[in-house]
């Protein structure tokens, strides 16, 4: 036993052999066992034959680990995934004009020493925050001003933004309340040395009852004595006109507007190629695949986060498929595995088919539903949806309450000799269907009076239900409707 241990432990970790030997010479057997145990994994006791057999494998633990890593993450795919991660990028292709405008705006007002406001709008995922972030990182801009970035979702209420600003500025406030903070900020702005750049992200969260907070902030920046450049970011195109109409009255109060348009197809393609090229894995995507992806996303939303997400997902799927194949291969030729595995891996590019697959899964939700709906959509729920369709198609009175739907469902079930669930159960059945998004329940005072409306198109539902025979039989059943 002792011999075996020594051999094994020395085999595993060659670097520690010397210390092991030293212990061998000195220690008594039980202690030595403990030492051997410590050197290897401490969790498993080494005395069982199974463990011993396991240790007799040809590969050391270090080597095993690295090998496993090789299988889990193919270097290329990993770097592609990393490149497509939706964090703040270092370069922004497709936004050159906006970047230039922003920088111009800030620098001009810096040189003038005047204060100004800018309102940046655009749908989510068009790079508003990212481009501001990029500008603030530049030396020429950041050295000349004090920049404060506040995300308005992270504050407690709209009025507590003042205390946050004063905290960021490092101003001492004499009063505890919001008024004290406000005064402190104003005095700071009057006597300060560097101009302040205040960026309020998601500025629509600052809406309050009479918009006093927003008005106060916007009025600061129009005051020539205070050197403050304010940039507000939000999604709505007309936020300043809609909730701050009083700013229109005076021209100097009016903020400058800048809109970030949704990305076009060409821009998304550019972003993809840029990102992949910088990671050195451009050839993982075929150009057609990128074109397809960009076209689809640009047509729907122009949200680059979404495009990157789809790209990442495609890479993940390909990677998974690839690693699955690898595993199969490794089982097939266990003997060769060690030497050959590294050379065998050839890269597989993402082609059009896989992109279309992912896109279909993402955009065609109902179609995706019908793939696996036929066996896992419970029968009772099918009948409920069918009876709802029956009412909507045949009955004169189209507003459906749960009570009425239950009555008709009962009749349908009784006719076909299917067990009927009672009303309490039926309500929960309806809410289960609601989670699929097929219908919507509008809550009323009592569950029986809840209104139901169909959310999907009737054809689409009919397609999704698939069980054609049952469907058509129920849909022809006028008698169940009664005289209503």
């Amino acid at each position: 036993m002792k011999q075996v241990f020594r051999v094994l432990s020395s085999f595993h970790t060659p670097s520690k052999r010397r210390s092991g030997h030293a212990k061998d010479d000195l220690a008594t057997p039980p202690k030595q066992r403990k030492a051997a145990n410590d050197e290897n994994t401490p969790a498993v006791s080494p005395s069982t034959p199974v463990v011993l057999l396991e240790r007799l494998s040809l590969v050391g633990s270090e080597e095993k680990k690295s090998q496993r890593k090789l299988f889990a993450e193919n270097g290329v795919y990993q770097s592609a995934r990393k490149a497509l991660h939706s964090t703040y990028p270092t370069s922004m292709p497709g936004r050159e004009k906006e970047l230039h405008d922003l920088k111009d705006f800030i620098l001009r007002h810096l040189h003038d020493g005047s204060s100004a406001t800018l309102y940046v709008s655009g749908p989510p995922g068009t790079g508003k925050t990212a481009s501001l972030n990029l500008i603030l990182q530049e030396e020429t801009v950041s050295s000349e001003l004090k920049d404060i970035y506040i995300n308005c979702t992270s504050i407690k209420s709209s009025s507590s933004v003042f205390s946050k600003i004063s905290k960021e500025l490092g101003v001492k406030t004499n009063g505890k309340g919001e008024k004290g903070c406000m005064n402190a900020i104003e005095t700071y702005l009057k006597v300060n040395h560097k101009p302040v750049l205040l960026v309020l992200d998601e500025i629509d969260q600052l809406e309050s009852k009479n918009q006093s907070v927003l008005y106060t902030i916007f009025e600061w920046s129009s005051n020539p004595n205070l050197k403050l450049i304010l940039i507000g970011i939000s999604n709505a195109l007309d936020l300043t006109d809609r909730i701050l109409p009083r700013l229109q009255a005076r021209c100097e109060l009016k903020p400058k507007l800048m809109h970030f348009a949704p990305y076009t197809k060409q821009q998304i393609v550019e972003i993809f190629t840029n990102r992949l090229k910088s990671a050195g894995v451009l050839d993982i995507f075929s150009p057609v695949a990128i074109q397809m992806l960009a076209g689809k996303v640009a047509a729907v939303s122009g949200d680059v986060r979404r495009a990157l997400d789809i790209g990442r997902r495609v890479v993940e799927l390909v990677d998974r498929k690839k690693s699955g194949e690898n595993m199969l291969k490794s089982i097939e030729n266990l003997a060769e595995e060690l030497g050959v595995a590294k050379t065998v891996q050839k890269m597989e590019t993402v082609d059009l088919k896989q992109v279309i697959n992912v896109l279909n899964n993402v955009y065609g939700t109902s179609q995706h539903l019908s793939d696996d709906i036929d066996d896992s959509f419970p029968l009772q729920q099918k009948i409920v949806v069918c009876s709802l369709l029956l009412i909507l198609k045949k009955a004169k009175n189209k507003d459906v309450t749960i009570g009425r739907l239950h009555d008709i469902y009962r009749k349908v079930c009784l006719k076909r000799n299917i067990q009927v669930v009672d009303q309490g159960e039926f309500v929960s059945l309806c809410s289960l269907i609601e989670t699929r998004g097929i219908m919507k329940i509008i809550k009323k005072k009592d569950p029986r009076l809840n209104k139901i409306s169909l959310m999907w198109d009737e054809e689409e539902v009919a397609e999704a239900l698939k069980d054609k025979q049952l469907m058509s039989m129920i849909l022809q059943d006028d008698e169940c409707l009664g005289k209503l």
């Binding site: 749908p123 979702t153 789809i310 009303q423």
Partner: protein, 491 residues
């Protein structure tokens, strides 16, 4: 024994004013009329706490909180002074210790151990319990590998991300995710994976969405702080690049739809942190609704949530059968046909695994009650199903008084006459009087009828207006007319 003397002295003094000499004599001689609360054993000293314990042990009662009572019991025992070096035990200091996380909550342990299950049915019942989660979940292999691949990929890539998991209740969402995470924790212990921290929050366990921050900080550091502070610490942790932290964190958010408020700031922050470059926060969100991001969340939150989604479909009857049989491995106490019946019934309604397990447990209980110790048969399962899927309303109508049944009939005929679901009490009353005449029943007064109506409303056979109790009261039938006919015809 000085305190003892004093005690008696004061007591007696209050009883009879003046006359102190006489009283003292009486004490010394030992004749006393006032009652002694507890027999005092002079040679064995018992501390109050110990005495209380002994008392508890003997009488099996919970300790009495009433201070007056305690005083009466122990007033004649000298209270020991608390040693000076012991930590203070005022309520405030205790709360402080709890907030710092130095004391952990404990539950009182049993005085006797539970006896272990020996009969096969008892064993089956304990294995069928919903809380008994098997080590690997049957029929969820595909979802398991999906989640595992996602998490492993993120951990190796060292970047953050989000995933959205949806599915109806009882389809094994949370169980699958936790088993994946347990697997990863074990793997990271064996150093096959980078180390990571795991935090889970549940929307239903939070009194308010913002308490999510507190909970996350508590699980990361063990300290309880207010939500503003918690938000600040988390923001510092995730936004600032300075600290060279940092283990990746896997955050599991269960019941996402509860965390959504009107402002949606909590959800926004939870989903915005993974997109920051310095953090490695991986968020897994779970909810029931399939299209929650499109339906409930704001546009910008949906954009951050991304498109990595996974839907858990309801179990089919085959899968349910497999789940139950896998749990029953080792006990052959269930008839396979009985299991199949349960699986089919449940799969046709909801596909909820919890429900199938509950019905099976109930069937085992029924079999046990019947004295059948080994086998659960079809009939037991049928009985359990009947109990689970009952229609108590028909029975309630059958057990109504004659007047109440007439009222129900009157409402139905009124609905049929007008064609509108909503009826007014005065019309119903007219119909009721004619019904009474037809059946040879004495005509009832308006008040009696109103009382009967309100009684029917209280047991939810009718829906009635809570505001007014007069002739204009609006009444809606809460059962289907067929149920009423069926219940009344059988007599």
């Amino acid at each position: 024994l000085t305190c003892r003397h004093k005690y008696f002295y004061y007591e007696s003094y209050s009883e009879s004013e003046g006359d102190s000499d006489k009283e003292e004599k009486r004490i010394i001689t030992g004749k006393r009329k006032i009652k002694t609360p507890v027999k005092y054993n002079a040679d064995t000293y018992i501390s109050p706490r110990k005495a209380l314990k002994v008392l508890e042990h003997e009488a099996h009662v919970t300790p009495v909180k009433n201070k007056l009572l305690q005083k009466e019991i122990f007033s004649d025992i000298k209270t020991p002074k608390t040693p000076k070096n012991s930590p203070k035990c005022t309520p405030k200091s205790t709360i402080k210790l709890i907030r710092e996380g130095t004391i952990t909550p404990k539950v009182q342990s049993r005085s006797k151990a539970i006896q272990s299950e020996n009969t096969p049915l008892k064993k089956a019942r304990s294995q069928l319990h919903v809380s008994y989660v098997p080590s690997n979940l049957p029929c969820r292999e595909k979802e398991y590998t999906d989640i595992l691949n996602f998490l492993e990929g993120k951990l190796f890539d060292q970047c953050g991300g989000c995933m959205y998991i949806s599915g109806v209740p009882g389809t094994g969402k949370t169980a699958t995710v936790t088993s994946v995470i347990n697997h990863l924790l074990a793997a990271s212990k064996n150093e096959e994976l980078p180390e990571f921290q795991y935090v889970n929050i549940n929307g239903m366990k939070l009194t308010e969405p913002r308490q999510a921050y507190v909970e996350i900080v508590r699980q990361l550091t063990g300290k309880t702080i207010t939500w503003e502070q918690a938000q600040n610490t988390l923001e510092e942790k995730f936004m600032k690049k300075t600290k060279k932290m940092k283990l990746p964190i896997i955050l599991l958010v269960d019941e996402l739809d509860i965390v959504c408020t009107k402002r949606q700031d909590v959800v926004y922050n939870l989903l915005d942190w993974p997109t920051k470059p310095s953090t490695q926060l991986i968020v897994i969100t779970i909810a029931n609704t399939m299209d929650l991001p499109e339906r409930l969340l704001m546009n910008r939150v949906t954009s951050r949530l991304g498109l990595t989604r996974l839907t858990f479909q309801p179990y089919t009857h085959k899968q349910l059968q497999e789940i139950v049989t896998k749990r029953l491995v080792g006990t052959d106490s269930f008839n396979p046909d009985a299991v199949q019946l349960v699986a089919r019934k449940v799969a046709s309604v909801s596909g909820d695994a919890r429900r199938a397990l509950d019905i099976c447990r109930r069937a085992a209980e029924i079999a046990e009650l019947e004295g059948n110790e080994t086998l659960v048969t079809m009939s037991h399962v049928n009985e359990a199903l009947k109990a689970m899927i009952t229609q108590p309303k028909v029975r309630a109508i059958k057990n109504c008084s004659r007047l109440e049944q007439y009222i129900l009939q009157a409402i139905i005929s009124e609905v049929e006459r007008t064609g509108v679901e909503e009826t007014i009490f005065s019309d119903v009353y007219k119909m009721l009087t004619s019904l009474c005449v037809l059946n040879g029943f004495n005509s009832v007064s308006c008040t009696t009828a109103l009382r009967a109506v309100s009684k029917l409303g209280a047991c939810r056979l009718l829906l009635i207006d809570q505001k007014c109790h007069d002739l204009d009261q609006r009444i809606i039938l809460n059962v289907s007319p067929d149920d009423v006919y069926y219940a009344l015809k059988e007599e």
